[in-house]
Symmetry: C2
Subunit: 138 residues, 2 copies
DNA sequence: CTTGAAGCTCTAGTGACTGTAGGAATTATC
DNA sequence: GATAATTCCTACAGTCACTAGAGCTTCAAG
């Protein structure tokens, strides 16, 4: 049986974050010691690692909650799980696309000025004042 | 003189957002009508467009506050403004890099499973349970 | 048996808004 | 000029995934 601190050290998840995951229903409410402190077993450690990995891959908490629910029905088909992952991948790709446009526009703006002008002439300020100088939408 | 609603329609910035920008010190406190309603002039419209465009390009509020401050000293050199833009570009590039790694990993995971398995065998669930199956860090 | 670390609950703060409640002012219609 | 519809006001709660702190209790080592 692990204390919340040892669980934290083993997984790299901070103590308040573990409590937060419990509150959000990702971790089941832990057993308690006589003095009301949380005690964890191996299965909690595995579940926490699952949560942490999913978060590191950018999945949000409702998605993780659903994945955990699905993972408890080992004989069901995995279509829902695959769909969650695929939708997340699509969302990541959209974010990348939006950021790429930003990058292009910012790169163009930044390379038009080298800091050696007055504010009045500065292309950065002028470009921010007038979207008409932009090449695309954002 | 424009009401906050007309200013909102002309700029596409929602009314509560305009009030929020005022609170954050991006827009100066507007003049008021006899009945205490905000009244705007052309210069406010231009400043709001500046703010909105900067936000659309991803700059945060402290950066925009600083850019507005700089833009009021038209004879000063523009090095600070250019630096803010360049730093933001660098931050955008970092975000893209992080998301690209995520995309790669997610793409690999998703393409390993086509929804036609049981949860027990599902590669999505297995990959989330075990970062050892990943190619990179995140 | 003392002491210091680690645990507990509860609350508030992050960033950039968005939405709501309850009331006052303005504008439009008759 | 009365009334109705719209717009405006302030102040506060909620979003997301944590993080930090206050004030108190329990645990483990010496
Ligand atoms: Zn410049
Ligand atoms: Zn633009
Ligand atoms: Zn699958
Ligand atoms: Zn991984």
């Amino acid at each position: 049986m692990l204390s919340i601190g040892s669980l934290s050290k083993r997984t790299g998840v901070k103590v308040p974050t573990i409590r937060y995951y419990e509150q959000m229903g990702l971790l089941k409410a832990a057993e308690r010691s006589e003095g009301n402190q949380r005690r964890y077993e191996r299965s909690d450690l595995e579940r926490l690692a699952f949560i942490r990995h999913a978060r590191d891959l950018g999945l949000d908490i409702p998605a993780i909650r659903e994945l955990i629910r699905l993972s408890e029905h080992s004989q069901q088909p995995c279509a829902d799980a695959d769909r969650i992952a695929a939708e997340h991948l699509a969302a990541v790709r959209e974010k990348i696309a939006r950021l790429r446009k930003l990058e292009q526009e910012l790169d163009r703006i930044v390379s038009h000025c080298d800091g050696g002008h007055s504010i009045e002439e500065c292309y950065v300020i002028r470009a921010l004042s007038d979207h008409g100088l932009c090449e695309g939408e954002h």
